[in-house]
């Protein structure tokens, strides 16, 4: 049996009468790349924010990296990394300053920050840009940088909310190389995406429709179950019944 790092049980979030996330039950294993799919408005971001401790669930349970999502949010935060849809590093700080700041507040020592910054910059090939303001970098580089910052403190799990939105195919490939490299180190990747080719890269995926998880399996198994040849068709069959969306 594999180690379970994310375990949710009927996790629900209501905003008034609106049930954004409806009784989600799933398990994610250590070192896995877990694709969290769904149409716009299906409730992916809400679910992810609950798992990160940014939003309190209305009901249900969840245990993240061994910590309870109600009582131990601060413990959870030490063990996860998060990259939101919106680019959220400081644009008016340089690449190095951002790395130093986030390393610092996660409690890395100065020595650790120094070596990690050098590694990170070498890996991303940002030697020439290290002292430039982040705001001046192209989007693709920003995304790669914010992923690298999200895994800087070696979290057990990293949550990525549409990390490759608006990024060109080459950069997306490079981005997934970074994800694979992190997964090989034993980091669990929990990622949302709208690109079905990216869904194929995942070990397992879940598909949300109108706040509920309607399917959960490996891409190969899902295609077999739905008797189709591509993830596109699996997604289409599930999501066309959706009532929500924008």
């Amino acid at each position: 049996m594999q180690d379970v790092v994310i375990k949710t049980d009927k996790l629900t979030k209501r905003f008034g009468d609106f049930v954004a996330t409806n009784a989600i039950t799933l398990e994610v294993y250590k070192g896995e790349i877990f694709g969290f799919l769904g149409a716009n408005g299906a409730g992916k971001t809400t679910a992810m924010r609950m798992l990160c401790g940014l939003s309190k669930p209305s009901s249900g349970n969840a245990v993240i990296a061994g910590y309870d999502v109600y009582r131990e949010t601060e413990q959870i935060k030490k063990n996860i990394g998060y990259m939101s849809q919106k680019f959220s590093l400081y644009e008016d700080l340089t690449v190095l300053e951002n790395i130093r700041f986030f390393g610092g507040i996660y409690g890395l020592t100065n020595q650790q920050i120094k070596t990690k910054s050098e590694e990170l910059i070498a890996r991303l090939g940002l030697e020439g840009e290290a002292k430039k303001l982040v705001g001046s970098l192209p989007l693709g580089w920003k995304q790669k940088l914010s992923f690298s910052v999200a895994v800087l403190h070696e979290p057990k799990i990293v949550f990525l909310d549409e990390p490759t939105g608006g990024v060109d195919p080459v950069t997306r490939r490079q981005f997934w190389d970074l994800i694979y490299a992190a997964a090989e180190q034993g980091v669990t990747i929990f990622v949302t995406t709208h690109y079905m080719d990216e869904a194929e890269y995942c070990n397992r995926i879940s598909i949300m429709v109108d706040g509920k998880v309607e399917a959960l399996d490996s891409p190969t198994q899902l295609k077999r179950n739905f008797k189709v040849s591509s993830m596109d068709e699996v997604f289409y069959q599930l999501a066309r019944g959706a009532k929500r969306g924008d």
Binding site: L54, S84, S88, E91, E97, I105
Partner: protein, 372 residues
């Protein structure tokens, strides 16, 4: 504490990269203190006076001359009828009408009494009130001079008059600038501190960087401290610049101890910054924060005793001013800068702003939610 150091490093870097903030910190105190005290002056000058002289006598001309020579009035009309003078008032060319009746001189000399008529355009309340009072005083003075001359001319025995002499303590020349500058300086640091802190956190919300902070194990009070300290330092810089400017331009040097002043400012800034932070926890956009801050700033300034005396406010308004931190700062600024008050004189003020500082910051920390 190490976390706070990283936060401070980040915050100062961002501040020093933001040209608008630097400009605001340097330019605002200089411009406001250089310009505002000249405008915010209660002394009424250039009151436009229309005279209706039905007498055309030596005495009436003497009276008009005395009035215009006082320097407070500008003769804008010398009319034959009250109607003509009233037209001037209607066209906003006159603030006051002085009507001298026919037989002014005769009655004054023979019957020892005479009535004058003064009409006031009360649209501009302050100007009309003070103008009317000046005019009354000048006429009374003129009257006494004539009395003395006429009476002593007859009997050779001077009249016994009561003369009042007064001296203005703490501001001997009744210079309004001396009175206004400490108040304006108080408003200045309130504005700078309040706005900077309120807008800063809301900006992080708008840009989305706050999410990245909230997902880290950072402690709430560390985060708030990381925001408070930089703006506290800026507030002190602005205050110091303000003191230098008021010394250079107006020659105002605090009578009291500078250390007392800085001690009070130190605590006061914490309370104002706490207020800004509290506002920021309620707002999602900088626009919202701006409007809310403006609303409170207006209240704070108008109910702070800068322009109008708190003593003359109605009872309920006085009660409201007790919850206005700016009021205490303006009082302390005037006490220490003009009167030379010592620490023992401002103990009550110190205690109150300390309570404000603790209360507002506690609320801000409580209301800042990492988890929604």
């Amino acid at each position: 504490m190490r976390t706070v150091r990283f936060l401070l490093q980040k915050e100062f870097r961002q501040i020093f990269r933001n040209k608008a903030i630097i400009a605001m910190i340097c330019v605002m105190p200089v411009v406001q203190l250089a310009v505002l005290p000249w405008a915010a002056d209660y002394e009424v000058k250039n009151v436009n006076l229309a005279v209706v002289d039905h007498d055309h006598s030596t005495f009436s001309r003497q009276l008009i001359q005395t009035v215009t020579a006082s320097g407070y009035f500008r003769l804008t009309g010398y009319n034959d009828s009250y109607q003509d003078a009233m037209h001037l008032v209607e066209r906003d060319q006159a603030d006051l009408i002085l009507e001298i009746p026919a037989g002014f001189e005769r009655n004054l000399v023979r019957e020892n009494q005479q009535k004058l008529f003064v009409a006031v355009n009360a649209i501009n309340g302050t100007k009309a009130n003070l103008g009317g009072a000046y005019l009354a005083a000048i006429i009374k003075n003129y009257n006494q001079t004539i009395r003395t001359e006429l009476v002593s001319g007859v009997t050779g025995d001077p009249l016994h008059l009561i003369e009042i002499t007064s001296s203005n303590w703490f501001n001997p020349l009744m210079n309004y600038k001396v009175y206004m500058v400490p108040g304006i300086l108080a408003i200045l640091i309130t504005m700078v501190g309040g706005f900077l802190s309120a807008l800063n956190i809301v900006k992080e919300k708008e840009v989305g960087t706050i999410e990245q902070i909230n997902v880290t194990p950072i402690r709430k009070h560390h985060f708030i401290l990381g925001k408070l300290i930089p703006f506290w330092v800026l507030g002190n810089i602005v205050f110091t610049l303000g003191l230098i400017v008021s010394w250079l331009i107006y020659g105002i040097v605090p009578e009291g101890n500078l250390a007392v002043l800085y001690l009070f400012i130190a605590i006061y800034l914490v309370s104002v910054l706490g207020f800004g932070l509290l506002v920021s926890t309620f707002c999602e956009t900088q626009q919202q924060a701006m409007f809310i801050m403006f609303f409170f700033m207006m209240l704070f300034v108008l109910l702070g005793g800068l322009f109008t005396s708190i003593d003359s406010m109605p009872e309920w308004a006085k009660t409201v001013t007790r919850f206005n931190p700016v009021r205490y700062l303006i009082e302390v600024m005037r006490m220490v800068m003009l009167k030379g008050s010592e620490i023992k004189n401002i103990v009550a003020h110190l205690i109150i702003v300390t309570l404000f500082a603790i209360g507002l910051n506690a609320l801000a920390i409580f209301n800042y939610k990492k988890t929604s």
